[in-house]
Amino acid sequence: MAAYSPHAFMGRRFSRFDLTALALVVVFLAVFLLYPLGYVVRGAFVVDRKPTLELFRLLWDNPIFRISLGNSFAIALCVVVVSSLIGFALALPMSRYAFRGKQALSALMLAPMILPPFVGAIGVYHFLTRYGSLNLLLMRLGLINEQNPIDWLGRYRFWGVVLLESLHLYPIIYLNLMAALASVDATLEEAARNLGARGWRLFRDITFPLILPGYFAGAIIVFIWAFTDLGTPLIFGYREVAPVKIFDQVDEAESNPIGYALVLIVLLVTALVFVLSRWAARARWTATGERGGLRSRERRAAPWTAAAIWALMLGVTAVAVLPHLCVFLKSVAARWSISILPERYTADYYRLLFHHPLALSSIRFSLLLSLFSTAADLALGFLIAHYLTRRRIRGRALLELLAMLPLALPGIVLAFGYLSGFAGVPWLDPRVNPTLLLVVAYSIRRLPFTVRAAIAGFEQTSVVFEEASANLGARPLTTMRRISIPLIFPHLMAGGVLAFAFAMLEVSESLMLAFRREHYPIAKAIYTLVGRIDDGPFVASAMGILGMVFLLVCFLLAARFMGRRLGEVFRM
């Protein structure tokens, strides 16, 4: 049967609703995505209304900035390598074998994603201080001198950050690899084996090239995430990285314009790496063969193989959970100094969460922000996906690019753009009241989740259901409400739950856009509490644990709605 145009069922002409919705989407993206970025670019090149490259020269002349950029780049590369190693080690056996409890193990693989590294950093920090658990343990074992403990945090902060971020991000590599491996037809490998290729050679020549695009899709997200992560190095006290330098510029953005140049460099590196990875991963072939004829590579594992896979998975997960175990210990420790484990335990800090002014108000505020930003994401995501998949619109590719752009756009860049671009604008100036701008910032950053999920929903749902509705006389809006939305509801929910969860523990925008105590989201409250002496770090730990429990629930919900296709949300 001839291919037919899927957009015709709603008519070629756009209704008033269509025009309003499209205008809304375009204006929203233009004002809150393009304008702040443009403002940063302009700020980097224009000083005192004169175009100049002076800022970049200043930047280059200042060794601190040079070193910081280098450190960030090195961190990002190392994180990609480490998380790739873990990701491959887990994905290859997982995709190859079927065994008892595989479903449960797959869910467990997502666990590190719900452990924000900046929370883990609190625990690790405690673990690694001069008289922290690790040194005390080593002293107890007689491996180091009590008078001269190892300065882990001084010497190994770089690797601490790399490790924490890798342990957080490897599931993204893993999910992308699993999705890519699932679409490798078993016959392709069998053909190679039939011709004599085995083991490493088979992987290098056949399997790896086939999954390369999927791998790059994950790796690029990991790189950008690690390159621009603000929370982890900040908590770790590792200030010689670009994101922290940008964070420090926030207070002097008015007087010292060098922040613009720094942000622009970060943006350019991100864009460059993105383009490079796209180029490296571009498909040089098109798949032959029917998708329907895909044969699974999975085979039943022998008992000892299954046991080995279980051990590997549990082992890696245990290591990944370790920092957060420290956080948990800290959140229930009544007294914990100069001892390997806490001396007494208490649930006081959890009780305190509901009385502590900062903790309580920040949880309430984050909840409010996340609810509104998620609602916006759901509405925008559904509309954008509808126009991309079901209608013929001009500038389709551009709209898709804009909607997906935030995945590759660092939060610190956007936050910096907001801070400078909306200063003095009524309702929006974050220094006066950041509520509206935080809602917008969260929703822009998480928009790709709902757009991606909704597109997957539309693509999996045949257009004939909507055609049948129009055919029976339903107006386009009725068709949307009664047919499209119910049919792609599970996908929308999965995207929405993820958007909500990530908004609740969002770090960079929360740290950079909130200035007054009553406007602190959770992340900024945790950061503030960690910096206090008294019981601050303990309350912060309790908040972190609460946040992680919350994320866990959200992930389980999302996985329930979207099942195995959850990984698609984290792909470019």
Binding site: M1, A2, A3, Y4, S5, A8, F9, M10, G11, R12, R13, S462, V464, F465, E467, A468, S469, A470, N471, L472, G473, A474, R475, P476, T478, T479, R482, I483, P486, L487
Partner: protein, 373 residues
């Protein structure tokens, strides 16, 4: 009450593929009209263009005298029974059927009454609360039919509605659809690639090939007097014998010279639906033609019938017993002309390799133009 559907010069292309090429048809009010042709011939595109699900590149669609070419799908009131049924999986049978009434803002009581009545007609009253996923193919088909009929559409469109059913159910549903059509009197366009379905159900058919209409007419007329070799072949087996017009006789018959000798052929004039003045009787002596006749038109004659006309010898290559009939493949004129004939199954089988004499009545032979090769 029922609506006349008129399609004028409709064209549609997808890239370099031509789906519809200047198609014009007219469907009378209340008619059961069939669009048939091989897959990819454009029949589904034509149906979807009438429903407003495909925008034609050019041409016009009229419902009575209303030009509806640019009316969006939801304002056409031309209910479509989709090939895969397109039943909404998140709604029950009753909700699926009710939907069209709901968007037309019928009151709840009216809706309930009408849905119950409709489910009664398609014998699904006891499955109203089920979800489509819990129904068999035949049941789903009837829900799709009920969902389309319930809104009392001006035009009913059916896109291969029986293609997903097994043979037995298909026969039953054919009768069912004809019955419901008679009962409702709705102008109906029905797309199928199954010529038996078309011949047995249609009041009129249009045969499509590569986006063009080959022939339009009553099923029997199209079968007995095809206008092109494609139309002849698509509706059933046909024999083609090349020849040239030798004599045009005053009684309206003509003689055609060819490898089987001279064949006497009756005039074309009486075949309805093909009354194109430029074509009928447009043959002149010396012109190349193709003689076409159906397998069942050829008769095996014995020596006792010396007065039989259009006789020629052929050798039996093989027989194919089909129960009610027997098909024979033969070759005539020293193997130059392959033939197929059909005899009643109760007759004595003819052994392979034997020589027989065949006869075809002049009325059963149709003259066609040779196809461009």
């Amino acid at each position: 009450m029922a609506v006349r559907v008129r399609i004028e010069h409709l064209s549609k292309r997808y890239g370099s593929t031509v789906a519809l090429d200047d198609v014009s048809i007219e469907v009378a009010p209340g008619e059961l009209f069939f669009l048939i042709g091989p897959s990819g011939c454009g029949k589904t595109t034509l149906l979807r263009a009438i429903a407003g699900l495909v925008e034609p590149d050019s041409g016009t669609v009229f419902f009575d005298d209303r030009n509806i070419t640019s009316v969006p799908a939801h304002r056409r009131n031309a209910a479509l029974v989709f090939q895969g049924y397109a039943l909404w999986p998140h709604m029950t049978v009753a909700q699926n059927v009710e939907y069209g009434l709901r968007v037309r803002r019928w009151s709840a009581a009216e809706r309930r009454r009408r849905v119950a009545e409709m489910l009664e007609i398609v014998h699904l009253a006891d499955l109203a609360g089920r979800y489509p996923g819990e129904l068999s193919g035949g049941q789903q088909q009837r829900v799709a039919l009920a969902r389309a009929l319930v809104v009392r559409p001006d035009v009913l469109l059916m896109d291969e509605p029986l293609s997903n059913l097994d043979a037995l159910l298909r026969l039953e549903m054919r009768r069912e659809i004809v019955r419901i059509h008679r009962q409702t009197g709705i102008t109906t366009l029905y797309v199928t690639h199954d010529q038996k379905e078309a011949l047995s159900m249609a009041q009129r058919i249009a045969i499509l090939n590569a986006g063009r209409i080959e022939q339009t007419g009553r099923p029997d007329a199209c079968y007995r007097r095809p206008r092109t070799q494609f139309a002849a072949r698509f509706l059933g087996d046909a024999n083609f014998v090349d020849g040239t017009i030798a004599v045009l006789r005053t009684d309206g018959r003509c003689e055609v010279a060819g490898p089987l000798g001279r064949l006497l052929v009756a005039a074309e004039a009486e075949s309805p639906g093909t009354a194109d003045p430029s074509d009928s009787g447009g043959f002149s002596p010396g012109q190349s033609v193709v003689c076409c006749f159906r397998p069942e038109s050829a008769r095996v004659v014995g020596a006792a019938e010396p007065e039989a006309v259009n006789c020629f010898r052929a050798r039996v290559l093989g027989g194919n017993y089909l129960g009610d009939t027997i098909e024979y493949d033969l070759s005539a004129a020293d193997g130059a002309v392959p033939l197929r004939i059909r005899t009643v199954g109760s007759g004595l089988p003819i052994p392979d390799g034997s020589e027989v004499t065949l006869s075809v009545a002049p009325e059963d032979i149709v003259l066609l133009k040779p196809e461009n090769k």
